[in-house]
């Protein structure tokens, strides 16, 4: 029973880790905005996650790891072989931060629910 209570925070911990990895990738892209021939990096996680949820087997979820991928596409606006678009990176950064904060809030509300049960709703 208590496993059921904590089960969700395990998934959310994975999502948090993916979010931190993505923050790393975006920071790296922003730091290398002026590096010739640099290709932007991203973290693949959500799609794997959705796929395993569709299979409806919760054991699969434990195997999902955030994977760093390289975007090989060309940015036609630049001639130095770098495909970082600073405007999109900034918006990814904002999106990722908000997602992270939302996850932390979810985890906290989950914990406070467990606490509430332990205190018998007092």
């Amino acid at each position: 029973m208590i496993q059921g209570l904590y089960g969700k925070s395990n998934i959310m911990e994975k999502a948090l880790n993916a979010s931190i990895a993505r923050n790393d990738a975006i920071s790296q892209n922003i730091a290398n905005v002026d590096t010739p021939n640099y290709k932007r990096k991203d973290v693949a996680f959500e799609q794997y996650f959705a796929d395993s949820l569709n299979r409806a087997n919760m054991n699969d979820v434990d195997d999902i790891q955030p994977t760093i991928i390289e975007d090989k596409s060309d940015n036609k606006m630049r001639i130095d072989g770098n495909n970082v678009d600073i405007d999109s990176e900034m918006s990814y950064l904002a999106k990722n931060t908000i997602k992270y904060n939302a996850l932390v809030q979810l985890i906290n509300s989950n914990f406070s629910r467990i606490k509430n049960v332990i205190r018998e709703g007092k």
């Binding site: 920071s27 730091a31 290398n32 002026d34 932390v104 914990f111």
Partner: protein, 145 residues
């Protein structure tokens, strides 16, 4: 994995852009320097950026066919621009040749100003990424409170 690597990456970006800014200032300051230690006019300098990798985790990731996020950016070299000096007619100048022409540095102030704006914008972008990382790290401390 963790917040401190994101902060280090942001800091490496700040350092690289600051070096770039230093070199741009040096170019602008020497826009009229006709005599350097080598006896030639000042040559415009430029910085070369490279993605910084090579930490243990990067090597390990590469060995196991994975990508790693890397360690930010670094300045590999400061190179001299080998384009030709500008010739200006100024017979009264002590460095003028027998025809009255002086070799002036190959610094174009407009180019330097444009590069300066680019460097300061990139610097600001790195500051934003550091601030975002900081706010996420502070939020993490609230877990389980």
């Amino acid at each position: 994995m963790g917040f401190f690597s994101s902060l280090d990456i942001g800091a490496s970006g700040l350092t690289a852009q600051r070096v770039r800014m230093d070199i741009i200032s040096q170019n602008i300051a020497n826009v009229n320097t006709t005599r350097t230690e080598d006896g030639t006019p000042y040559r415009r300098k430029d910085v070369l950026f490279e993605e910084r990798t090579g930490s243990f985790s990067d090597v390990l990731a590469a060995a196991s066919d994975k990508l790693s996020n890397g360690q930010g950016v670094r300045v590999t070299k400061i190179v001299e621009d080998t384009s030709e000096f500008k010739k200006v007619y100024d017979p009264g100048h002590p460095d003028a040749d027998e025809d009255g022409y002086v070799n002036m540095p190959n610094v174009d102030v407009v180019t330097e100003m444009v590069n300066m704006i680019s460097a300061s914008r990139s610097y600001e972008a790195n500051v934003t990424s550091i601030n975002a990382t900081k706010s996420m790290a502070m939020k993490a401390l609230e877990i389980g409170k």
